[in-house]
Amino acid sequence: MKLTLKVWRQHSPKDKGRFEEYILQNASSDMTFLEMLDALNEQLISQDKDPVAFEHDCREGICGCCAMMINGRPHGPNAETTTCQLNMKAFKDNDTIVIEPWRARSFPVIKDLVVDRQAFEKIMEAGGFVHMDTGSAPEANTLAVPKGKADEAIEAASCIGCGACVAACKNASAMLFVAAKVSQYALLPQGKPEGGKRAWNMVAKMDELGFGSCTNTGACEVECPKGISLAHIARLNREFIKGGFITLVAEEE
């Protein structure tokens, strides 16, 4: 199949960047989207041009590396599908495809389609863990966890940290990302004791790093390649209120 690709090219973080148009003659509906980009890069190399930089690694939808806006949608048109799992069957011969990086103040572009997601790392460092040193754990079956809660916790924990939720949000909020982590821990007895404080700290860090506020439009849930539910944001809000009380009480004391 023949494709017209409008790809965002930006040599470095300081470069202004622009769209460039390429014609790819020999694409195939058997390719995945990233294999199509591989083919584009092979073509660019053969023409002595700089290939398009894009992030990718596992190519099976679990590492969270791949991240691009495809025709204005994070990870393209298919529901619950990462870019690497997107099949070219989703496109037709002679289609024009616009490919650009995540657009969010907190995710500056490094090169072409690659953005800097360090902000997610900083949010995790603010509280995305249980305070527990290696070796201090009790026997694994000491605390029973209701099956329903465990299953829900797995659903929350399946977040791959790709950033599609931020890219989808008109406010570039990281609320779903934060909620998935806070909710996973809130559902489990191991994470509960510091639940409120965790929510408070992670949300504060998210605000500090320039992510916008959540206005409950639900775009994040629609575009999340792992189908993580908005219900986790509701749980985050409950944890956050708890955390607020704890913080206020601590300040009073």
Binding site: H11, S28, M31, L34, E35, D38, N41, E42, I45, S46, D48, K49, D50, P51, A53, D57, C58, R59, E60, G61, I62, C63, G64, C65, Q85, N87, I110, K111, V114, R117, Q118, F120, E121, E125, G128, F129, V130, M132, D133, T134, G135, S136, A137, P138, A140, N141, A144, V145, P146, K147, A150, D151, A153, I154, A157, S158, G161, Q184, L188, Q190
Partner: protein, 639 residues
């Protein structure tokens, strides 16, 4: 000839680790603050080790090529993690887990290391649960388990089909906690190119900053490689596209011996290659063989759709050949059995290189809801890639390159032959012999990282307190950086016509054909020649565009492919040397009448550790004899 000293402690097998720990030197908390450790790689082994070392008070510098440690390829492990908890009351024990691994590895692993791996397995589950890893539960709220290949107990803990992701995120969270505290410094988007050796000891690394293209120098008192395996040698594999043995190769070039390089696991259940554009293959977890039945038609070239083939015309060949273990035979056996059927003309699918993995009986017996609960995300993954619904149509699967049992040679302390250079997880060779059992890689990675390395590295560092700090303007760093720059310049200067991707694909084909599921003397010789020829072409015809002062992914790949040539030769030479069949290493000349592996314990009961002697030069073989005291060495049988 150097005699490899594996430093196995005295005492009975079950007492060795305890005795060893009791005899180790300690580093006081005040001195730990003065010691620097470099960790390269952030999969479960690297992340868990870095977090644990940070908790202990060492200064840890952590490096990975991705933008976050959470993306390391441990994330893709699906099925589970083993432990000898015996929660099922099915008579499991440390000894039984150890025995299963030794037997599964076809008696080519070091007894003491394997026993220790089993011994620390239970503490891993405790650790992970306390971290908030959401393992699957029974209705009563307690942890549940499932079965994996090569064992007759149920000891595999799991989190749906995303266990690796959950276990990795547990250690990643612990790592992030240390990063926040400042005991761990994170260096993402770095490709390690050289290990710096000073006065015979590993003292630092040189890496390329993948964003700025600049070379960077870091010094330390010890360096740990947790850089995974080299399965991408086949180009198409279940590994991440950027995974490679390049870091292990850099260590090998600096004097670390490389052990059993030809022991590479071909996983039996992967989604078959569908077209020539394909850039990777996707695993379908071994756990599926708990409920899925593997079969092909009894008639050659039967092109009917699977639902049109009645029960009596199906050949459930694993159940037929291995009645005791049925569909849950170890991976090497299941892979070869699939290849045998397909080569004989019984394969299914368009290419004839696939077999069915059929869930219809399990769905009938347990209901679709239960199967969905156990394997839902695996079924979704399969559906997304193939466009077929495995709840209705049997899956089509075929073997693919997956895991490298071989790796850097390490002693009982996980130290390589370069003092101060350690290798953990898949990057070392130590625990899986000639074949790894399912759900034991997460186990080994966590064991090495949480509970073994933090002790053994302390024992080494206790003597390093007196050693002077090495500054990064030392001549050793100048030399290492110069070598790294020259390597890059050499590749950039070729200015030929063929991309690194194309070379990688071509090399992968050679290795799959000549060092894949079966090997022969003639095939290996031919393979060696083809690898040499392709390497010659590589250095004449490689083409890299773009610049080295910013992100240049094809250049990164070219560096990995360059390392792959040498690793390929090493694999082929090792396969040539080992004139026996064991585990995943199947020499056509050495098989039983029934087509099973035929070991030669008299001549090959050793670890083959190879020493680098120069580019294209035949490496030198060192042998570590394997002594079995606690198990009876026998012909492996799963019948």
């Amino acid at each position: 000839m150097t005699i490899l000293n594996s430093k196995i402690p005295q005492g009975s097998l079950s007492q060795k680790w305890t005795n060893h720990k009791n005899a180790m030197k300690l580093v006081s908390p005040a001195n730990k603050k003065k010691l620097d450790i470099i960790m390269v790689g952030t999969g479960v082994a690297g992340a868990s080790a870095a977090a644990s070392l940070g908790e202990l008070g060492y200064n840890v510098k952590v490096f990975c090529y991705q933008d976050s440690p959470r993306r390391a390829h441990s994330v893709a492990a699906q099925g589970g993690i083993n432990a000898a908890k015996n929660y099922r009351n099915d008579n499991d024990s440390n000894y039984r887990l150890f025995h299963d691994m030794i037997k599964g590895g076809d008696f080519r692993a070091r007894e003491a290391n394997v026993y220790r791996a089993a011994e620390v397995s239970n503490a891993i589950i405790d650790q992970l649960v306390a971290q908030g890893v959401p393992f699957a539960r029974e209705y009563g709220g307690h942890l549940t388990t499932r079965s994996f290949g090569g064992v007759q107990v149920s000891r595999t803990f799991y989190a749906s089909g995303i266990t690796g992701q959950q276990v990795l995120l547990g250690s990643y969270a612990a790592l992030k906690r240390q990063a926040a505290k400042g005991s761990v410094e994170m260096y993402e988007r770095r490709q390690m190119l050289e290990i710096v050796v000073k006065d015979g000891k590993a003292r630092g690394i040189v890496c390329r900053n993948l964003v700025t293209g600049q070379m960077e120098r870091y010094s330390a008192n010890a360096v740990v490689l947790a850089t995974g395996g080299y399965g991408t040698i086949f180009f198409l594999s279940t590994l991440a596209v950027n995974s490679s043995g390049a870091a292990a190769y850099a260590a090998y070039k600096k004097g670390a011996f490389f052990a059993n390089p030809s022991f590479i696991q071909i996983h039996p259940s992967c989604i078959p290659q569908m077209n020539e554009y394909q850039s990777k293959l996707t695993l379908m977890s071994e756990s599926l063989r708990n409920d899925g039945r593997v079969w092909v038609p009894k008639d050659k070239g039967d092109k009917r759709s699977p639902d049109q083939i009645p029960e009596e015309e199906r050949d459930y060949y694993l159940e037929r050949r291995y009645p005791a273990f049925g569909n849950l035979v170890p991976r090497d056996i299941a892979s070869r059995a699939a290849k045998e059927r397909c080569d004989a003309g019984y394969g299914v699918g368009e290419t004839g290189f696939a077999v069915y993995l059929d869930f219809s009986d399990a769905i009938k017996a347990q209901g679709e809801k239960m199967i969905k609960n156990k394997y839902g995300n695996l079924f979704d993954l399969y559906g997304k890639i193939t466009g077929e619904d495995p709840y209705k149509v049997p899956m089509k699967i075929y073997p693919a390159g997956h895991y490298t049992m071989g790796g850097l040679w390490v002693d009982y302390n996980l130290m390589t032959t370069i003092p101060g250079l350690f290798a953990i997880g898949e990057a070392n060779f130590s625990d899986h012999g000639a074949n790894r059992l399912g759900a034991s890689s997460l186990m080994q990675g966590c064991g090495d990282g949480y509970f073994i390395l933090p002790y053994t590295i302390g024992n080494y560092l206790a003597d390093e307190i007196k050693t002077k700090k090495l500054t990064t303007d030392d001549q050793a760093f100048d030399i290492a950086e110069k070598e790294a720059k020259e390597r890059i310049q050499r590749l950039m200067n070729i200015k030929g016509n063929t991309s690194a991707l194309a070379f990688h694909r071509a090399l992968g084909k050679i290795m799959w054909d000549h060092a894949g599921m079966t090997r022969s003397e003639e095939g290996i010789k031919e393979g060696l020649k083809k690898v040499d020829d392709l390497e010659d072409r590589f250095y004449k015809d490689l083409k890299i565009t773009g610049t080295t002062d910013s992100m240049n992914q094809p250049m990164e790949r070219a560096l990995r492919v360059a390392a792959n040539f040498e690793i390929s030769r090493l694999m082929l030479r090792d396969a040539m040397n080992r004139k026996e069949s064991c585990g995943a290493h199947f020499r056509e000349e050495h098989q039983t009448e029934e087509g099973e592996t035929l070991r030669n314990d008299r001549d090959y009961s050793y670890v083959a550790a190879w020493e680098y002697l120069g580019e294209r030069k035949e490496p030198k073989l060192h042998k570590e004899e394997l002594k079995f005291e606690a198990v009876e060495v026998s012909q492996r049988s799963y019948k």
